[in-house]
């Protein structure tokens, strides 16, 4: 087993991976950019190494810097987390070339699945149905293909993932603009502007299957997750099991996923994403060759630590368990907390999360990357935390998650918390009757009206009373440290003045 592992990431996933490594008695090395000096993920690891400037391409995407840090720290393996270099074949190769173990699939597997066009071919060859789609040398060819296929269509980055850069178009007129925008995001996020076009399956649900492979042709699945609640192709709420999946559909998706993983001799943890149409047809979307953001819901219903499984497979080349040993029980649901202003077109927010309180209580899990006083910067993904609840039934899990969100408080940076709370209270979410476009098509308008409502008079009164109490308006310091003085400590004076008793 490994003695020391470098985690080539930041934020909540670094903290999450470190927790398992520490439990296994393995020492941890964090890396950080200039912007993340003193960040939570550097504090939870045994050591931390500076790898470059704030811009991701200078630090977290800088293969040489990360591999050097790994070598210099004496680590014997590297865990990539998700995002950044997690699905970069050149990085996996560089780690191996430095004599270290990459905790993940082979470079060839990353490369094959990373090119979504190649992934479609592999799925097709393994007998997994794929969404009708087309490739094209240029925008004109793509428009011609889309015209032939019929609208609406969706444009995706060939080397993309995680919904980034996806654009849908409902007619030829908007397609050209959408292709250009998708190409720009693809070029900047993935270093390659190639895009392809797929038929947009309307009224579909997003169901994905967690697989683990030994790299020699054996694979198991850890059931499915439903990630249908999305906004702009970004997952917002995920759950396991998928609430609307029939036993037949579950058998189809899990068998197809295992078949594909075995066909490519997949190594480590991966996810096969599918869309299930209203008519019940299953279509392959893509395979993600990494741990997913939403992996905790699978862990809660299966009792399997997926990070531990990744590490054991990387160290031993064996699956830690057989398919028949993998059981599922109860329901888990996760909400992603983002630094976004839901009242203002979900614009990403920056600042200092000056006062943060995470929920606790039985069967509530929080995977977070910030604590009170931590800075939320412009350079990286605005996800702050994932809040996950487990219960025997879906209804009880939603109820428990709502309670946990009620107990969540982030001040100093605007978050999407009001959006998450309203979303989980929506009758359609409670009854499970929605599709991947439902949030934008039906939920957002009503939610926007809610956000436009005036704050209660009591909120204004509270602000005025806090001001009148003479609380100093301490500003967070430039380096992102918490205000040295809690303004509310000053309320003592108020008491002395006889106003509070």
């Amino acid at each position: 087993m490994f003695k020391k592992v470098l985690i080539a990431n930041r934020g909540e996933i670094t903290c999450r991976v470190a927790a398992t490594l520490h439990e296994m008695g393995i020492r941890t090395v964090a890396v950080y950019s200039e912007a993340d000096r003193g960040a939570l993920h550097t504090r939870v690891c045994d050591e931390a190494r500076w790898i470059g400037a704030a811009e991701a391409r200078e630090s977290y995407l800088n293969i040489d810097a990360v591999v050097s840090a790994a070598r210099e720290s004496g680590a014997d393996a590297v865990h990539p987390g998700f995002g950044f270099l997690a699905e970069n074949a050149a990085f996996a190769e560089a780690v191996a070339a430095a004599g270290l173990t990459f905790i993940g699939p082979t470079p060839a597997q990353i490369r094959a699945m990373g090119d979504k066009r190649e992934a479609r071919r592999l799925a097709d060859a393994a007998g997994v149905p794929i969404v009708p789609g087309a490739e094209g040398a240029d925008a004109k060819a793509l428009v011609r293909a889309a015209n032939a296929m019929g609208y609406p269509v969706i444009i995706k980055a060939a080397l993309g993932g995680g919904g980034k850069g996806m654009q849908s178009a409902h007619d030829a007129k908007h397609l050209a603009e959408a292709i250009e925008a998708a190409q720009r995001v693809a070029a900047s996020a993935f270093g390659d502007e190639s895009v392809y076009v797929e038929k947009l399956l309307e009224h579909a649900r997003h169901v994905e299957v967690q697989v683990l492979g030994d790299g020699k042709g054996r694979a198991v699945h850890v059931f499915e997750r439903d990630c249908t609640l999305q906004r702009r192709h970004q997952k917002v709420v995920e759950e396991a099991p998928a609430p609307t999946l029939t036993a037949d559909q579950r058998a189809i998706v899990t068998h197809a996923a295992v078949r594909l993983a075995e066909a490519v001799k997949y190594r480590g943890a991966g996810t096969i994403e599918t869309l299930i149409t209203r008519e019940g047809h299953v279509y392959f979307l893509e395979m993600n060759t990494r741990l997913q953001v939403e992996h905790p819901v699978t862990e809660l219903v299966s009792g399997i630590d997926l990070v531990r499984a990744q590490i054991e497979i990387a160290a031993t080349g064996k699956l830690p368990f057989e398919q028949h040993e993998i059981k599922r029980h109860g329901h888990a649901i996760e909400a992603r907390l983002y630094a976004e202003d839901a009242a203002n077109n979900f614009l990403p927010q920056v600042g200092v999360a000056s006062r943060v309180r995470w929920p606790d209580g039985p069967f509530v899990r929080v995977d977070s990357g910030v604590e009170s006083g931590d800075a939320v910067g412009v350079h990286y993904d605005p996800m702050l935390a994932k809040i996950i609840a487990y219960a025997p039934t879906r209804e009880a899990a939603i109820e428990r998650l709502l309670g946990a969100l009620d107990d969540t408080r982030v001040h100093g940076v605007v978050t999407n918390l009001p959006f998450l709370r309203a979303l989980l209270r929506a009758p359609a979410v409670r009854s499970g009757s929605y599709d991947t476009e439902w949030v934008e098509r039906e939920f957002l308008a009503g939610f926007a009206a809610l956000m436009r409502a005036p704050a209660p008079d009591l909120a204004l009164a509270a602000v005025a009373i806090a001001e009148a109490s003479g609380a100093p308006l301490s500003k967070p310091t430039a380096n992102g440290a918490a205000p040295a003085i809690d303004p509310f400590a000053q309320l003592g004076r108020w008491r002395q003045a006889g106003l509070a008793e």
Binding site: A455, E467, A468, A500
Partner: protein, 162 residues
């Protein structure tokens, strides 16, 4: 003590008058009520009014106040602090960056006639591209950014004239 707070699109006025024994007379946009307040050991405020007891937590952040009332969250901003919410809108013919980021594309040049909703620039921040669109018809008077340039929130990007 009178103060003004931006609450979404509107500006709210609150007037506070201290009474005896921790009680206040509060007037918000003309409606008046009384309540008493008490600072809890953890810094939160316990507000007691006709409607019962509410726990409030107020965190200052520059001109903004994050308010948690029971389990609900609000963000108010001191009005007259000079900060204008740009959003996708703009003001006085100018269009400013809604957030810090990198300009990835400039689609207009000075003198262009633009229509409402037409994309003017693309701004990338936090891995997402945001199109800055014209809030109304007009002619581009000035372009204050070029591709690849890093801009701060509030930076004037495009100026339109009627």
């Amino acid at each position: 003590m009178k103060s003004h707070w931006r609450d979404g699109d509107r500006v709210r006025e609150v007037e506070l008058q201290p009474l005896a024994h921790g009680r206040w007379r509060v007037r918000v946009d003309g409606s008046e009520f009384e309540l008493s307040s008490e600072a809890m050991p953890d810094g939160r405020l316990r507000l007691v009014g006709d409607g019962g007891v509410t726990v409030a937590e107020v965190t200052p952040d520059g001109a903004r106040r994050f308010v948690r009332l029971g389990v609900l969250d609000f963000v108010l901003e001191r009005a007259g602090s000079g900060k204008v919410r740009a959003g996708a809108g703009g003001h006085d013919g100018g269009l400013s960056a809604p957030m810090p980021g990198v300009i990835t594309k400039v689609m207009v040049v000075v003198g262009d006639e633009v229509t409402r909703g037409q994309p003017l620039l693309a701004l990338e921040a936090m891995k997402m591209e945001h199109l800055i669109r014209a809030p109304r018809e007009g002619r581009v008077k000035r372009v204050g950014a070029s591709p690849g340039q890093m801009v701060q929130a509030g930076a004037e990007l495009v100026e339109l004239e009627a």
